[in-house]
Symmetry: C2
Subunit: 285 residues, 2 copies
């Protein structure tokens, strides 16, 4: 069922709640791919009812970012959701979500994650991005009031920040993190892959290759963080505009002395002007 207004969603979820049903939320920006579908499938196994939100959230895009050209494919998304047995697709307009408020921290209440978690990785180049993410996720949580919400490990910094928000603000929602889905080539699925040419997709394989190699080196006994990071350079060509490659603690995003089983390697790199991210855990435990 496609719903566009907050009141309709609330009315529907209220009925479910009265029946004691368990509600799951999968927040998305649409342009759904197998990565999103893996979240939806997981939600279907964990919950009685599943809401998928499809909302390209203006306040998480910077002024020079791709808000306008971000892929919007609602008809396709609806078909995919129907195929998975999604109960509600919630696709509000920006006006439904933000009213006539000017979208700035001069006029709108924001949820602001801690600087320590934001001032690195994607947060460093995407100033204000995670304020926008936390604010819209908080709004969706308050609108749907789900028992569980499902996020992909692909956006690793985002999940860590949302888990932190949930703890810090005592939000009564369980955050469930799902693994990255990849093409057979190793390329992590992303709605932004649509921007790439065939050749660009080949060049983009370098991200997962670098991460796999770092993990392989760690498994062979290399724990020096700088040494692990330096292994990346043999993969990079003039086609790759590396933004960051870091190895941090996977829960706290702290720099540690040496790599260990709690480490995560994270990379962001532009290919054909398209900003791609990927990450890998050093241990799957």
């Amino acid at each position: 069922m496609l719903l566009n207004t907050i009141n309709e969603v609330r009315a529907e979820v209220k009925k479910w709640r009265a029946e004691g049903l368990k509600v799951g939320l999968v927040p998305t920006m649409g342009a759904l791919h197998e990565g999103h579908l893996s979240l939806i499938k997981r939600a279907k196994t964990e919950c009685d009812k599943v809401v998928v939100s499809v909302f390209v959230n203006p306040i998480q895009f910077g002024p020079s970012e791709d808000f306008d050209k971000y892929p919007r494919t609602l008809d396709e998304d609806m078909k995919l959701c129907d195929g998975e047995g999604v109960d509600i697709v919630f696709a509000p307009t920006p006006k439904e979500m933000y009213g006539d408020c000017r979208l700035s921290n001069d006029c709108l209440t924001y949820v602001c994650p801690p600087f320590f978690f934001v001032d690195k990785l994607c947060g460093k180049s995407r100033v204000g991005h995670f304020d926008g993410v936390c604010t819209v996720v908080m709004k969706l949580f308050n609108i749907v009031q789900p028992d569980c919400a499902f996020f992909g490990q692909k956006d690793a910094q985002q999940v860590i920040i949302i888990k932190k928000m949930v703890r810090d603000l005592n939000i009564p929602v369980e955050v469930i993190q799902c693994p990255i889905v990849r093409e057979n080539s190793g390329l992590a699925l992303s709605s932004r892959n649509k921007y790439l040419s065939d050749e660009g997709k080949k060049d983009a394989l370098v991200l997962s290759q670098i991460l796999n190699n770092i993990k392989a080196c760690y498994k062979k006994g290399v724990t020096d963080i700088e040494a692990l990071k330096e292994t990346a350079y043999s993969y990079l060509t003039e086609k790759h505009d590396l933004e960051y490659l870091e190895i941090y603690n996977k829960n706290t995003l702290e720099e540690e002395m040496d790599a260990n089983d709690n480490s995560i390697a994270l990379i962001a790199c532009k290919v054909e002007g398209v900003r791609l991210i990927d990450n890998i855990y050093f241990s799957e435990v």
Copy 2:
């Protein structure tokens, strides 16, 4: 019933919810007086069950403010709450609310109200105060999940900001605003009145006198904002350290060309080093 932990409160409220009972929350910092009791009485009439939180919230005090000496009178507060038939008094420790997190926006997720509402009145001298207020109120909302929450008009800027937060973040709580309670002298009740000597309490009457006079002048036809504000100076002596006196729209805190029935006059003034605030609506509609 006195409860100190988040889990205990949640367990108790969950039972009520299963019975379909309506839950009210009265957030306080304790040192309860008739002003708080008026909120509790109102909550008792509107709701089946009433939770009063008593928590002197460290993150809403500035470094040079009175966090350490703020009155803490939990035994007295408990007696007053019992007398009103309060169902739960929730009195957590700072550690229960914030864990071992350092209390700064480097380490903690904050809810940040818009600059426009914050960068004036009390927010101007109390930098970060309303971030602290919104953050703790959001936490209490998420812990108790009340249907309604009760706030006093005494802290006018606070209620306006909380209502804005509720709208902006789609929080499923109804905010109910209750009138200021005053001593017969006209002095607005405040936990900080305890800091005043008998003489100081007399000097403090000037706040309500100034506000009453401004409203009287408005009722006589004066709508020029500067003219209304200037009527205050005849009341002020060297005992009064005026921080602000402003006339704004009572809902938006905007400056308007002329005073009107939607205006509110707000004053902050130190007496004997004690910072006191008061406000008055130009029309009770």
